[in-house]
C-alpha cells in the first residue's frame, strides 16, 4: 500500500468519496464547535476586549493560506517529476481555496487592526508579505485559466509555482528588511502565539484543526470535480471522433 496508488484517478475518486462525508462532518464540527467555544465561552481580553476573538478566524485562515501554497508546491514537484495527473489537478484545485484563505486572513486582520492599531492597513512586514502572497495566487490562477491545453497548463503553472515559491520567500525577507528601514514595527507586531493563554488556545487549536480539515475536504472535492471534467472532455472527444468516422 503506497501513496502512489492514488495517482490512479479511479482509485483516488473511490477513496476520496469514501472518506469525504466523514471529513465534512468532522471539519464542520471542529470549526463550529471551536468558534462557538471561542466566541461565547472565553473571557474578554483585558486589553483588547472582545475584539481578540477574531483570532479564531484570522490565525487558522492565515495558517492555511501559507500551507495551501506549500501543498501546491509539493503537488507541482510531483507533477514535474512523476507526471501524475491527479497531482497537477490537486494543485489547480488548491489555488482558489488558498486565495480565499489569504483574503479571509487579510480582511479579518484589517477588521481587527482598526480598533487595535487605529488603522485598517499598515505596511507591516507580515501584512505586506501576505498581500504579495495574494498576488502570487492571482497570477497562478490566471495562468491556469489562460491556457487551453490542460497538459501545457499543468507544466507551465507548476514551473511558475516553483519559481514563484523562491521569489515569495525572497520577498518575505526583502519586506522584513525594507520595513525595518522605514519605521520600527515593534508596536504593530504583537506576537500573538506567545501572548495567548491556554483558555484562548484550546478553541484556537480546534479551529486550526477544523480549517486544516476543511482545506483537505475542499481540495479532495475540487480535485474530484477536475478529474470528472477531464473525463467528460475525453468522452465528448471520443464521441465526436466516432461520429466523424
Amino acid at each position: 500500500m503506497s501513496i502512489w496508488e492514488y495517482a490512479n484517478p479511479k482509485k483516488f475518486l473511490a477513496t476520496s468519496e469514501r472518506v469525504l462525508p466523514t471529513l465534512w462532518v468532522l471539519s464542520g464540527a471542529l470549526i463550529v464547535g471551536g468558534l462557538i467555544w471561542g466566541f461565547f465561552f472565553t473571557p474578554d481580553d483585558y486589553r483588547q476586549g472582545s475584539t481578540v476573538k477574531i483570532i479564531y478566524l484570522h490565525v487558522p485562515a492565515a495558517l492555511m493560506a501559507i500551507n495551501a501554497w506549500f501543498m501546491m508546491l509539493v503537488a507541482s514537484l510531483i507533477w514535474v517529476i512523476r507526471r501524475h495527473h491527479v497531482s497537477a489537478l490537486a494543485a489547480k484545485a488548491a489555488a482558489p481555496v488558498g486565495v480565499v484563505m489569504t483574503l479571509i486572513a487579510l480582511v479579518t486582520g484589517a477588521i481587527w487592526g482598526q480598533p487595535m492599531w487605529g488603522t485598517w492597513w499598515a505596511w507591516d512586514p507580515r501584512l505586506t508579505s501576505f498581500l504579495v502572497l495574494f498576488l502570487f495566487y492571482l497570477g497562478y490562477i490566471a495562468l491556469w485559466e489562460a491556457i487551453d491545453n490542460p497538459d501545457t497548463a499543468a507544466d507551465l503553472t507548476s514551473i511558475l509555482c516553483l519559481v514563484g515559491s523562491v521569489f515569495a520567500v525572497l520577498s518575505r525577507y526583502a519586506v522584513n528588511f525594507w520595513n525595518q528601514g522605514l519605521h520600527q514595527g515593534a508596536s504593530l507586531s504583537l506576537d500573538k502565539e506567545e501572548n495567548v493563554a491556554d483558555i484562548f488556545a484550546f478553541p484556537l487549536y480546534a479551529c486550526m484543526a477544523g480549517f486544516g480539515l476543511l482545506f483537505l475536504v475542499l481540495v479532495l472535492y475540487r480535485t474530484g470535480t477536475e478529474i470528472r471534467v477531464r473525463r467528460m472532455a475525453a468522452l465528448i472527444q471520443r464521441e465526436r471522433m466516432a461520429a466523424d468516422a
Binding site: 507544466d155 507551465l156 514551473i159 525577507y173 528601514g181
Partner: protein, 218 residues
Amino acid sequence: MSALLIRDLQLAFRAGGGFGLGLAFFLIVTVMVPFSVGPNSATLSVIAPGVLWLGALLACLLSLDRLLALDWEDGTLDLLATAPLPLEGVLSIKSLAHWLTTGLPLVLAAPLLGVLLNLPTQGFLWITLSLLIGTPALSVIGTFGAALTVGLKRGGLLLSLLVMPLYVPTLIFGAEVARRGAEGMAVETPLLMLAGITLGTIALLPFASAAVLRVNLR
C-alpha cells in the same frame, strides 16, 4: 551566440521606434509625477528615488511582450530551439539584448530625469548604480515571464500580473539603495542583496525560462 546577439540588437535598432519607446515611456511617467503629487520640490526630492525605480521597472515591463513574440510568430524560435546552441543560452542572449536595448538606456537616462524630480545631489550616483546593478535582474525575470506567456493571444496583461510579484524583491532592494543613498545613509546591505539577486537570477532563471519555452514549443 554573438551572431544572435548582433541580430537581436540590429532588429531592435532598425525596426524603428521600439528602441526609444521604453525611454520615452520612462520620461513621460516621470513628467506625470509632479502633475499628480504637486510641484513642491521638498516632496519631489523625497519620492524621487522611488519614482525613478518604479518608472524604470514599468518601462522594462512594457517592453517584455515583444521580447519573444516576434520570433514566435515568424517561427524563428522553433529554429533556434533546434539549433546546436542550448535554449538556455539563446534565452540568456535574448535577456542580454533586452537589457542592452531597454535597461541600459534607462540607467543612463535616470540621472537626467532625477534633475526633473529634484533628486538630492548625493543621490545621483546611487540611483545610477542601483539601476545598473538591478535592471539586468528585471530583464532576466522578464524573459521568464515572456517565455511563460509566449503562446497566448492576450498574454500582455497576464504577463504583467505574473512578472510584477517576481519583481518585488528587486524593487525593494533597488529602491532602498537609491533612497538610502539620497538620504546619505549606509547602502552596503541592500546593495549586496541587490547584486545577489541579479547574479542569482542570471545564473538560475534561464533554466526555468528554457523549460517553459520548451513546453510552449511542444
